[in-house]
Each structure stands twice: as structure tokens, then as C-alpha cells.
Symmetry: C2
Subunit: 144 residues, 2 copies
């Protein structure tokens, strides 16, 4: 499993409020918001995202309740569906717990979730719309 | 505030157990473990870290209890102490809540914490031992 984190996602109760903070407050440039539930920002090496808590709970079939430090998910992006399957198996062999088996995702990709030490959720996914560069970084398509 | 995340840190009850997962299980290369409480890994664009939960609780003066998705902190690394002060103020003006005022940190840097929407902890810090490149990515010193 290549040493990288493709995306760090803040799980938030209200994506619009969080977008105002990062965009109007800090001046960050949105890359894409395919729905009101999600927002993506290009950062060096990968992607920073916001995702609505109830949407995550529905996606993984697990309650995501309020936590003192908020909820976050990490993603590791593969270069193919086959690499998702192989990496999911590798993670389980290393001691991760299966949360969601690899399957076609509603957003057009292929996604799985595992739980790693500390109870953290790691999505292992292939996104056909994003590019994983040779150095492992992820580049988002430029909008517009 | 430049659009970047310098470090994503998994807060874990047992750093040694988590290190075994990432290093022995997944084959990731440790960059540095300045104490048994913390471990750093270079990833594209920045740093992935493990940090002991009780150590974080002590550092920020806030209880960090078990959460269904684990606890994570994000860090934004400045290029100077003055930039920490300015960025801390900018974050507060944008609506973040102060958790820890900027001050000299025990590890030799200068650090502050704010809470951003969703209850997430964002450290805004200057680390004199790490390099923030022109593109905002962070490069760790090569060990050895």
C-alpha cells in the first residue's frame, strides 16, 4: 500500500456553514461541489473535503455522532478497481476491520471502507474522474 | 490563509499498536518518532502523523474521549512565528474558536489550536525543523 493519504475529509453537520468558513472566511477556492452534501478543495499533494455527517452515516451504515474533536475520514485513492480490491485485502491482512466491502459507489467510482487503529475510517477507493500522479499525489480536474 | 493542510494526525490510544499497523502491516516508512507518543510519515504534499490521545488531551487542555470515527487533528504549518499569530487571528475573524493561544511549544516550535466548523481541531504552528515549500507542501528532513 503506497505511503500516501489522498484526501482528508471533515465530517460536518452543515456543509454550507463550513464552506462559508473556508471560502468566505479564509479565502479558499472551491474546486467542486457535486451536491450540497460535499465540497472538494485542491491542496498540495491531494484533496481536502467537507462531507455532511448524515450522508456519511448513510454511506457506511454506521451512526456518526458528535465527537469532541469532530469526525474525520481519510481516503486512499487507487488507480483502478482491481487495486481497490487488492488494497482492501492488504489492509485487512494488516489488521484493519472491514466496514464496507468494495462496491460501485453512487458517485460513479468504486469504494470501500476499513477501520484502522484508533477507530478511524479509511476509504479505499477508485475515482475515475481524479488523477493519481506517479508520485501518489492527487490532482483534481480544474473546474469550468 | 494559504489553501493547504500540512499534516493530518490520527489520535490513537496506543501509538505502538498503530505504528505496527502502518509499518509492519502496510510497509510504510517511518520518518521520525521523537518520542513514544508520536510518529511522523512523509506523504505527498505533507505529513501523516500518529499522536497519543492522552498527550493531545494534555496539550490542548481538553478531554479527548473515544469517538465512533476516532479523533483526528489537522495542522496548518506557517513559515514563521509571526505568521502563526497572523493566521490565528485570521481564523478567529473567520469564525473559528480559540482553543489554545499561540505559544512556544515543548517540542521546540510555536503552536496554537483553533476549533473550526464541525468541532474539528486545527493546529496553526511553526516548526523550525520542517520546511514549508513555495507550493505550500511540507518536506520532512530525511532521517539518519
Amino acid at each position: 500500500m503506497e505511503q500516501r493519504i489522498s484526501m482528508t475529509t471533515l465530517v460536518v453537520p452543515d456543509v454550507a456553514e463550513a464552506r462559508r468558513f473556508f471560502e468566505s472566511g479564509l479565502g479558499w477556492q472551491l474546486n467542486a461541489a457535486p451536491s450540497p452534501d460535499v465540497a472538494f478543495y485542491q491542496v498540495p499533494g491531494g484533496v481536502f473535503a467537507l462531507y455532511r455527517r448524515d450522508s456519511l452515516a448513510g454511506e457506511i451504515g454506521r451512526d456518526v455522532t458528535e465527537a469532541p474533536t469532530g469526525a474525520v475520514t481519510l481516503a486512499w485513492n487507487a488507480r483502478s478497481e482491481e487495486e481497490v480490491d487488492a488494497t482492501f485485502s492488504e489492509a485487512l491482512a494488516a489488521g484493519a476491520k472491514a466496514v464496507k466491502q468494495p462496491e460501485k459507489a453512487f458517485w460513479g467510482g468504486y469504494s470501500s471502507y476499513v477501520e484502522v487503529p484508533g477507530g478511524h475510517l479509511l476509504e479505499i477507493a477508485y475515482n475515475p474522474f481524479w488523477t493519481v500522479e506517479n508520485d501518489g499525489s492527487v490532482t483534481l480536474p480544474v473546474p469550468g
